[in-house]
């Protein structure tokens, strides 16, 4: 029995050694361009930091604010993507994205009660901007609709998840201000604003 187990383990290890990459979602297949679009924003830190900042801000403001982002974020990303296809993305420099990072970070760090309309305006501006930036990553022969839908859905999932997690995290203490959960969120805002400041400095220096 023991010998059989050893042989089995050896056979399993040998099989693992000759394993090849799994190709379950071949990018060149039917929906490959959709996956390429969905993964494109995740290959860069910039989108991740900005989406996280927006999700944290909306989640800390409450459920009503968060619900609006479910609509505004993907629409903004797709619109921005279509604008980027026609106009290019050269007009959006790193200073714009770092400025947005500082704005979102400061709003979160200062614990400001932003109303729904202002949050939607900021989210729309941010998503338009990131949509334009992501349009620059499209390659020749790529299906633009599938790629754009991938970008928009990726942003929608990311932002909605962060918003929901933040809202749940914030709601657990049942206190509006002054608890460690609120302070932790504000500290995150300060970190994001600091990262934006550094990024702006790097952009100015280069």
């Amino acid at each position: 029995m023991r010998r059989l187990l050893h042989r089995g383990a050896f056979a399993a290890a040998s099989l693992l050694l000759v394993a090849q990459c799994a190709e379950a979602h071949i990018v060149s297949s039917r929906l490959g361009d959709f996956y390429a679009g969905a993964l494109h924003p995740l290959t860069d830190l910039q989108d991740g930091v900005l989406w996280t900042a927006l999700g944290l801000l909306a989640g800390s403001l409450g459920a009503i604010h968060g619900r609006w982002l479910v609509l505004v974020a993907p629409v903004g990303l797709f619109l921005g993507f279509t604008v980027g296809l026609s106009s290019g993305s050269a007009w959006i420099g790193p200073l714009s994205t770092s400025g947005m990072m500082v704005l979102l970070g400061l709003l979160l760090a200062l614990g400001m009660r932003v109303n729904v309309a202002v949050l939607c305006a900021i989210a729309l501006a941010l998503c338009l901007m990131l949509g334009v930036v992501n349009a620059a990553g499209i390659g020749d022969g790529t299906d633009t609709v599938l790629f754009g839908v991938g970008v928009a859905l990726s942003g929608y999932v990311f932002i909605t998840l962060v918003t929901a997690l933040t809202f749940t995290f914030r709601k657990l203490d049942g206190q509006p201000t002054g608890t460690w959960r609120a302070i932790a969120l504000r500290a995150c805002g300060s970190w994001i604003a600091a990262i934006g400041l550094m990024m702006g400095g790097f952009a100015l220096a280069s």
Binding site: R3, F10, A13, L45, V49, S190, A194, I195, L197, L204
Partner: protein
């Protein structure tokens, strides 16, 4: 039994034969930027001691310092970082950084209770110098945003360590321990100060 050992040995040898080159110190792109930014505050003992001392002092001072500190410090330090990146010089940066460890360690050791505004001012001035050093030493090949993320996160975590250790001050014995830690940081700062002034090389 012997066959099993032989199988294991064969397996290990096969693994060794197939081993690839390890890229342990890759300093390029996003991974390089994250690694160098994260390690920068941890690799300099003077930076590390001062950051922990800030957290310890905040914990000793209690509210509101304990929670305003982690919110404002990264921002002020980032301002210094921008000055460093832009190449705007500050007077005697290394001396002031060593002085920060001495002053903050001394404040913890003596349980100095300054009015909050003055404490924030002292910490803010030192934060600018620390940020300046981090910004000025950005590796050219590293991704700038990733460097910023790594550096801010490492600094925040160091404060958190200081605050967590500082909670020991709630008990009399813990309070003494924190004061001793503060004194050690002050001695370290004194050594770096003398070293930077050329008195002790």
């Amino acid at each position: 039994m012997r066959t099993a050992r032989l199988s294991h040995a064969t397996f290990l040898v096969t693994l060794l034969v197939m081993a690839d080159t390890a890229s342990a110190h890759e300093q390029q792109g996003v991974p390089g930027g994250l690694a160098s930014g994260f390690l920068h505050p941890l690799s300099g003992l003077d930076h590390l001691a001062a950051m922990v001392a800030v957290g310890l002092w905040g914990a000793q001072l209690g509210a509101p310092a304990i929670w305003i500190l982690p919110i404002t410090f990264p921002l002020v330090m980032a301002v210094g970082g921008v000055l460093g990146v832009l190449g705007i010089p500050l007077p005697l940066p290394e001396v002031v950084i060593a002085l920060s460890a001495l002053v903050l360690g001394g404040a913890v050791a003596s349980r100095l209770r300054l009015p909050f505004v003055f404490a924030a001012l002292v910490v803010g001035v030192f934060a600018i110098f620390h940020g300046h050093a981090h910004g000025a030493e950005l590796p050219k090949s590293a991704n700038a945003l990733a460097y910023g993320v790594g550096f801010v996160v490492a600094t925040g975590l160091l404060h958190l360590c200081g605050i967590a250790i500082g909670t020991l001050s709630r008990t009399p014995a813990g309070g003494r321990l924190i004061q001793a830690l503060g004194a050690s940081i002050a001695v370290l700062g004194c050594y770096f100060l003398l070293h930077n002034l050329g008195v002790w090389s």
